[in-house]
Amino acid sequence: MSLIEIKDVYYAYNEQNKAIDGVSFDIKQGDYVTIIGHNGSGKSTLAKLIAGLLPVKSGSITVGGLEVNEDNIAAIRTRLGIVFQNPDNQFIGSTVKDDIAFGLENRQIPSEQMEGIIREYSEKVGLSDYLEYEPQNLSGGQKQRVAIAGILAMKPDILIFDEATSMLDPKGKKEIKKLMYDLAAGDDITIISITHDIEEVLQSDDCVVLNKGKLFMHDKPEKVFADAEKLRKIDLDVPFVEQIREAFAKRKIKLKNDDLKGMVEQLCRYRSNH
């Protein structure tokens, strides 16, 4: 049985257009799944539906066998955390340590235990020297790391990243992606990441493509990116190696899909063969 099962889900903010229009797919335990699609394709709505922040209009979502609904949401939230896009709008405490404590307070963790937990998880995200810092003195990347620490402190096994790196500078993006890859490396944590970052998608186990609220593709990232035309049709970026392959194909030089180094090696072989 899959950890998360999404079955024929519909959601609409208003009557004219359906934000999520009959989407079904499964997510296996321990997988790193990326969800891509242009803005307005329904990615964030889907994340909110899985996290129970919006109720499905029809269809069902189950997490670990429990249906996401009002009765089960408290239980589901104990194992699911979500990191949002805007670093400022999820910083609730007035300092780093207060923000990490926020979730622990909600979970009614005894206050004597909090200090140790805060120290452990701030260290995990590399912010143990910043515990007293206020949000306005932190960079965007640091704020996102605080958000991640606050969520990890509640020991979830499902993490949702809703464009968590899109508002960060290159340094912040790199920091957060490194953290995500480290978390994904273990078997126990399932990661669902909504992203525009092709490099990140290529790191994931599975890729879901949404378009206009519908499931457009669901496959291994390499397979998804192999069909450049299909991606362009729905306004998505094509990986650089795929662009190279196309550019040479136009000049009647056929290359196989590979990473950048592999592409250049193929060109070298082509040169010595001719």
Binding site: H38, N39, G40, Q85, S139, G140, S166, M167, D169, P170, K171, H196, D235, L236, D237, F240, Q243, I244, A247, F248, K250, R251, I253, L260, K261, M263, V264, L267, C268, Y270, R271, H274
Partner: protein
């Protein structure tokens, strides 16, 4: 030179114990009719530099010539309005400046402030909206009902409508999806090529800077480290290392090809021109 910084310095919290020199003896000439990128890490002084272009900040030392205006440290400025009309500044997440009831009215807001008569202002607004590809059917819609990418384009139209000679864009593609970003990039290229506007872009996106900007300025700790051809900067490994810059994908590809004995001229800067030259060598 339309813009010329002369030994300009700016200090935040001047006279306080935590004073901080955000710009330190800047000497910089920006060429007319060119797309210039300003890059550097967060906190390097990019935004401070840009806010000087519109006299939102005034220099503490040195001076700044923009078009026919001369801003000198310590002197009172009298020509704020005409300067701000001639230099259009598009802020980061510019969609947050929209406030009027309709898209058309919001775009006309700038021209009206600069003393254009209402009829004329609406005409200028309609033209600017056409330029940014916003369909006429949206003119009477509330800006709040648009998508993120559309809002951003309406905000940029609000600046274009003032008919500035210089347009400065701070992180114009931040937070947009690839398609939305492409629309903004196409827009500033057409402003530059077709309407011959001088464009300055502040960005973290080295791929975009490499692909579309003629010149690049590298700022770090309030000082200018590099100003010159974008290609020469990004194709120079030592410079990239020195300034801690990410190498654009095309440059990585170019370098790999050259390391493997392929010959590439300096003109082969885009994927298309690179494949063209390689293709010739393989035939």
């Amino acid at each position: 030179m339309p813009i010329s910084f002369k030994s300009l310095s700016y200090i935040y919290n001047k006279g306080m114990p935590y004073a901080h020199k955000a710009l330190d003896d800047i000497n910089l000439d920006i060429k007319e009719g060119v797309i210039t990128a300003i890059i550097g890490e967060t906190g390097s002084g990019k935004s401070t530099l840009v806010e000087h272009l519109n006299a939102l900040l005034l220099p503490d030392e040195g001076s700044l010539e923009i078009l026919d205006y001369n801003i000198v440290a310590g002197q009172k400025q009298k020509f704020l309005k005409p300067l701000r009309k001639d230099v259009g500044l598009v802020f980061q997440f510019s969609e947050y400046q929209l406030f009027e009831e309709t898209v058309l009215k919001d775009v006309a807001f700038g021209p009206l402030n600069f003393g254009v008569f209402p009829d004329e202002a609406l005409k200028m607004a309609a033209e600017a909206l056409k330029l940014v590809n916003i369909d006429e059917s949206y003119f009477d819609v509330s800006p709040l009902e648009l998508s993120g990418g559309q809002k951003r384009r309406v905000a940029i139209a609000g600046i274009i409508a003032c008919d500035p000679k210089i347009i400065v864009l701070d992180e114009p593609t931040a937070g947009l999806d690839p398609h939305g970003s492409k629309e903004i990039i196409d827009l500033f290229i057409s402003l530059n090529k077709r309407l011959h506007k001088t464009i300055i872009i502040v960005s973290h996106d080295n791929e975009m800077v490499y692909n579309y900007c003629d010149e690049t300025v590298v700022l770090s700790h309030g000082k200018i480290r590099y100003h010159g051809s974008t290609f020469e900067l990004f194709s120079n490994k030592e410079l990239l290392k020195e300034y801690n810059l990410l190498e654009p994908q095309i440059v990585t590809f170019r370098n790999l090809l050259q390391d493997n004995g392929f010959k590439l001229s300096d003109e082969a800067r885009t994927l298309d021109s690179i494949t063209e030259e390689i293709g010739r060598q393989l035939k």
